[in-house]
Subunit: 360 residues, 2 copies
């Protein structure tokens, strides 16, 4: 079997030792712990790869673990929208490109932008195939209740990605069922995904928004993110598309997620030095353009309380955010404050990952 | 070091083989998986012990893992309330005893009962030390909003346990700060906990409701539950107290948790043949009086979506609930239905634990 890190990527000798020496090399590594009064209460394990074009910089767990990237790969799924010329043809602005990579909260800024976007290409909410979702944004929920309105597909956290799919579909003239696996839109998405991960997608599943989600290894996903970070050499079309999408995410952190969300807080703190994206079931990706670095991580048990801590710790170690920035520190050491205001427990990233901010 | 299963309990030869043979004996076992389109997406690991007075019946993971039982040991914390004579002196009914073991949703049936209870012993909401909590019950939350009222301590999911503490405290004449570690109420709770687990509590933490929560090994917690199931031989006072509390839980499933909650659904399905109790961070305990069996389990990552599945699977294997009962099957094979009604993924207990309902 060929090495999953062929080409410019690391050979096994370039992969850092795994921190959990008691486990087989293929097992998940312990990454995040909850301590109550100094006593270990819960542990989250997972797989993490940090790499650039020359190879793996750091690794915990198993880089070959097959995962569903879920929404953490939305910027890859948006590549055909830009590369096809559809984004230019329909005059998409940078904020719309940010929304095409978003898992948003269904706040007015998100659902309104998606609605205007669809109107702008002569389509509407009924053309979406993502399904209706109650917005997680408080104000949007309160407004719906106040007006006795139902949530609609524009509130779906993936309505931006689907607006991008519809724009691409309008451009290429495909049929209305753009989320089907054999539809030209999803074929284009799969091709871009495989080219960026550098591996054939051996499996797929249906995502929460009904679009296909292709599997890949954690290391392959990190490699795709490294390519997003330094797309030079991928050809002018892809390079430009990758740069525009990453720039869009970094320029509009709140459009990519929303108030109080890790993606938005960490990208705001990084101030144009990193793009990050969460995915359901404990996935997180990171893109550091100034160093050509990509990050992919998966928490084995799927919990985002752990994935958010690990991505924050890695951004600190990579020097693109400050550990004392409240937008960052809230994810690094999260106290569990009980109902009388007592700090009863604390979540923290394990020393092996945090290494007290030692630069990576 | 003495065996943690001394006395009547199992020697190591009585402990069943651990299902994860690739791991050291001390590691957590893989218990619950999420599959998307047949492909593994997430895994929950943990520690499970099923035992009776003669020893361990089944075990996955590490029986010696030290855990915080959290709310899963509330029936142990309620023992002094009954044993001291306080429950009889203040004429507590069986529904109040159920509430003393509850992690409830703050529905009217819960908060009203706690309020009346405190009034009945000449105390009130301000005497509680559990802190205010927004009720998880929808109707109670809507009513508070409608009337511009704030949630109070009666809505705290532990207000029944604390009403029990206050009743015991009134009986023994302790000072108002009944949740302090060195208060006679908590000393009595600790003594009962240690006697039932058969081990010294080497650590403690502060729980969400501000009461101390003592650590123990998973196997010790299972042993305590086996004693609750078959308390004969523990002396008349303790035996009667244990029986009354277990009977109370089984008689009032909805008071122990609430509508749509695993504890209530599973106890209703068991119809008097089992008492079960969840605890924060993925703990679950079970008591099967007809067989003198106790169960304790801890999901390593703290997720209740996994602990609920494992306890349901064990109750099926122990023959006290039916796998086809909708109140049970909803926890055994939980589909992940997406926003267009498509079954996109499914959680299930691993074959090793479920073993297709093979009797234990």
């Amino acid at each position: 079997m060929a090495s999953p890190y062929s080409g410019k990527f690391a050979t096994s000798s370039m992969i850092l030792p795994i921190n959990e020496r008691n486990h087989p090399m293929t097992d998940a590594a312990k990454l995040v712990e909850l301590h109550r009064n100094g006593i270990l209460e819960s542990t989250h394990r997972g797989h993490v790869v940090v790499c650039d074009a020359t190879g793996v910089i750091a690794e915990w767990g198993n880089a070959s673990q097959v995962i569903f990237p879920r929404s953490a790969c939305k910027m890859l799924q948006a590549l055909p929208l830009v590369e096809s010329g559809a984004a230019n043809k329909y005059g998409l602005e940078i904020n719309q490109l940010a929304l095409s990579c978003a898992s948003h909260q269904g706040a007015h800024m998100h659902s309104d932008l998606a609605g205007e976007w669809l109107k702008g290409i002569g389509l509407g909410e009924p053309d979406l195939r993502c399904g209706s979702q109650t917005p997680s944004d408080h104000e949007a929920r309160a407004m719906l209740r106040e007006n006795y309105q139902s949530p609609c597909q524009l509130h779906n956290n993936c309505s931006g990605k689907h607006s991008g799919f519809l724009t691409l579909n309008k451009h290429i003239g495909g049929n209305a069922e753009y989320i089907e696996l054999d539809h030209p839109v999803q074929k284009a998405v799969k091709a871009a995904f495989e080219e960026m991960t550098g591996a054939t997608a051996l499996g797929y599943g249906i995502d929460g928004c009904s679009a296909p989600n292709f599997t890949c290894e954690v290391g392959h996903l990190a490699r795709a993110m490294a390519k997003m970070a330094a797309p030079e050499g991928l050809g002018e079309t892809r390079s430009n598309a990758a740069k525009r999408l990453v720039q869009a995410m970094m320029a509009y952190p709140l459009l990519v997620a929303g108030e109080g969300r890790a993606c938005s807080a960490l990208m705001a703190a990084a101030n144009g030095r990193a793009a990050v994206k969460t995915g359901a079931e404990g996935v997180f990706c990171g893109i550091i353009p100034e160093r050509g670095i990509g990050i992919a991580l998966k928490i084995e048990d799927g919990n985002s309380r752990a994935s958010e801590m690990v991505i924050a710790a890695l951004l600190v170690r990579l020097g693109v955010v400050n550990a004392t920035d409240p937008r960052v520190s809230q994810y690094l050491h999260r106290p569990d404050i009980n109902r009388r205001g007592i700090k009863a427990a604390e979540f923290s990233v394990r020393e092996e990952v945090l290494a007290e901010g030692k630069p990576l």
